[in-house]
């Protein structure tokens, strides 16, 4: 252990002033697996001492007054493919973007470029991550071969020999419910989690926005919220019937939150996530066909956003995710119907969470740490939390008084499809993880 200290930082969950000993294991915290609600208090954290403790003689101190100390974030929903770029560059840029945004690790969803349906694809991905990425990247295996929804992927092998813990077919669930049901039955023994976005494709085909004034004004076919809600019920019933672990991706409607709350009450093994953009924006932000705001599921009403945030606060929704999706400027310059869905959010994740949710008092630091650090890491890396495991989560220093303008030079992710472009965000991640 080194003799270097960071002094007078504020431990975000408790608001207490602490000293942090830098070092091999000093600048990280152990996540408590037993109760995801219990963010480690300063006394339990190795390397962190309260300010009443005297620092050893000759300690090398860096003053961090006014800065917050908190565990780095884990992001459960990222797409790192940049159309037209090489896989290696995608990995490198996503890693840099993550560090900018205070994210130490992320779950990478399978995509056409990163189709994790076989061991070789996983091996070469992990090799590239090792070589290129400054952030941890956990690949999410495919449920079906090529994500085509036809034939089950060899996830038994992927789980036992490649440490895959979560399965998902991109942003959609296999349409063939029998296939998914059987996969869930089979996977119970492997302790795999099925991640899926709830949907009824027949109801949402060729739809682009939430039904409302924007849909009417722009003449875009509306996407009925009941499609997601029916899909949510379907997936929950299947998970309940098979005993499989389910993670619901990109929950976007108020009714979905209520459905998940009821399921949790009756003991279904389900976790859920919400994309940050569903907490911050509504369909009205689309304005005059602004394709930056095109997402799947679409941006909803203000009431939905409020219900989702309420769900995060009461634990119905376990995680807030970036749903990071790079799209090239040309692709987003097309008309609303042709343009691809998604925003990039990794680069700006923690400053956005702070500026838009914590600072205005809509979310506490403790709630943020639950939803963005503790629970996502527990879902993606359950092995970290087994008895005797030694893995720890890195800490970061966050300077809430710093300001940063979001522009091309501050975005490392490689594309510019964020509505924050040109905006000034408060806060900066100041300690390299």
């Amino acid at each position: 252990m080194t003799n270097s200290f960071i002094t007078n930082a504020v431990w975000a969950p408790s608001g207490k002033k602490v000293h942090l000993r830098l070092g091999k294991a000093g600048n990280s915290v152990r996540l408590d697996p037993a109760a995801a609600t219990a963010v480690p208090d300063t006394e339990d954290v190795k390397g962190i001492t309260s300010t009443d403790v005297e620092l050893p003689d000759g300690a090398h101190c860096t003053d961090a007054s006014g800065k917050l100390l908190l565990p780095a974030l884990f992001d459960l929903h990222t797409h790192i493919e940049i159309p037209g770029r090489s896989k290696r560059e995608c990995i490198m840029r996503a890693g840099e973007a993550a560090i900018h945004g205070g994210v130490w690790g992320m779950l990478v969803l399978p995509s056409p470029a990163f189709c994790f349906d076989n061991g070789a694809a996983l091996d070469s991905f992990r090799e590239a991550v090792e070589e290129r990425s400054v952030a941890e990247m956990v690949p999410c295996g495919c449920i079906t071969l090529g994500m085509l929804g036809e034939q089950q992927a060899p996830y038994n092998t992927l789980a036992t020999t490649r440490d895959i813990t979560i399965l998902c077919d991109g942003d959609r669930a296999p349409q063939n419910l029998l296939l998914l049901y059987r996969a869930m039955q089979y996977a119970v023994d492997l302790d795999l989690t099925f991640a899926a976005r709830a949907d009824v494709p027949a109801l949402t085909a060729h739809t682009y926005v939430h039904p409302g004034s924007t849909a009417y004004k722009l003449g875009l076919h509306p996407c009925p919220p009941c499609a997601e809600e029916i899909g949510t019920e379907t997936l929950l019933r299947m998970a309940e019937a098979t005993g499989a672990k389910l993670h619901l991706q990109l929950v976007s409607t108020a009714e979905s939150v209520r459905i998940i709350r009821r399921a949790k009450e009756r003991g279904v093994k389900v976790t859920a996530e919400v994309a940050l953009h569903h907490l911050l924006y509504t369909h009205e932000d689309i304005g005059d066909y602004n394709t930056v705001f095109k997402t799947t599921p679409p941006l909803r009403d203000k009431e939905d956003g409020e219900a989702l945030l309420e769900g995060v606060k009461d634990g119905t929704i376990d995680c807030i995710v970036s749903a990071h999706t790079p799209c090239t400027p040309f692709a987003k310059k097309q008309d609303f119907i042709s343009a691809p869905e998604g925003m990039v959010a990794l680069d700006t994740l923690l400053p956005t969470l702070y500026t838009k949710l914590v600072k205005p008092g809509r979310l506490s630091w403790a709630e943020l740490i639950q939803a963005c650090c503790v629970k996502p890491a527990l879902i993606a890396r359950p092995w970290d939390h087994e008895e005797g495991a030694s893995s720890e989560v890195p800490l970061l220093l966050f300077d809430p008084s710093a300001e940063c303008v979001v522009d091309e030079s501050t975005l490392a992710c490689g594309t510019l499809n964020t509505p924050l472009l040109g905006e000034t965000l408060c806060g900066r991640v100041t300690l390299p993880l």
Partner: protein
Amino acid sequence: MKPRKDLLTIESLSDEEIHTILESAVAMKEIFTKSVKKVPALKGKSVLTLFYEPSTRTRSSFEVAAHRLSADVTTFTLSTSSVVKGESVHDTIDTLMSMKMDYIVVRHKNSGIPAVIARHCNASVINAGDGAHAHPSQAFLDAFTIREKYGEVDGKRVVIIGDILHSRVARSTSVILRRLGAQVAYMGPGSLVPPMAHTGIPQLKDWDEIFTWKPDVIYLLRVQNERIESPFFPVADYHQAYGVTEERLRRIDAQDISIMHPGPVNRGVELCDAAMDYRNCLVCNQVENGIAARMSILYHLTPATLS
């Protein structure tokens, strides 16, 4: 008045521009009565009609309008099958702009495409219908027709009947009529009429309510079976529920109400045969006024190619 490059929606126009375009449409229509139906207003200018969706009426109407202003007209035909999936509109426009067009009249099934094209090129872009979004030239010819019939639009009551949710005509025509002081109501099948909270336009329940509301004009939308992959409603009993039947025509006649329709009419669906011959049926006036309105629109726009 600031020179305007494109006509994409009615919303984007000022009141002054709406009045100017309607006013000069009157002058344009006078040309039709002369033996030489042509003026040299756009002599030497080139107009391109770019229709990604099949349409004979609107396209010919624009072409006749351009010819009567002495412009050169090029027709670019893109059958839906020839537009390769994934091909970008930008690339098509780049090709077309090499031909140095001054005006592009575009129709596309995707809402918002004309705006994308307008941003991308110097030519004046006229939206001739994009998805369920807007159809401003139709709105002008409708407003012009009502003004011609009643002397003014202000204070008139117009009910638009049909599938509002998927109709660009309802969207644009309701906007221009309300801007000109008319009252507009919607009537149609179930959830195909978006709630007033989204549209700002009151909703009438059925024909009885329409007659009680005492409209001056009944505007029937076309049932567009060809556009729709899976039908939104059964067409078989549409006429009975929402169409102008002979019985309703008698009440329309008694109240001296006018009938309008953007065409082409599905006889026996929106209108019974007798309604087409009804004394206050303005469908043919609409077609004629369409040319005058489109001449006026072309005349009003200033392509950026000129500067």
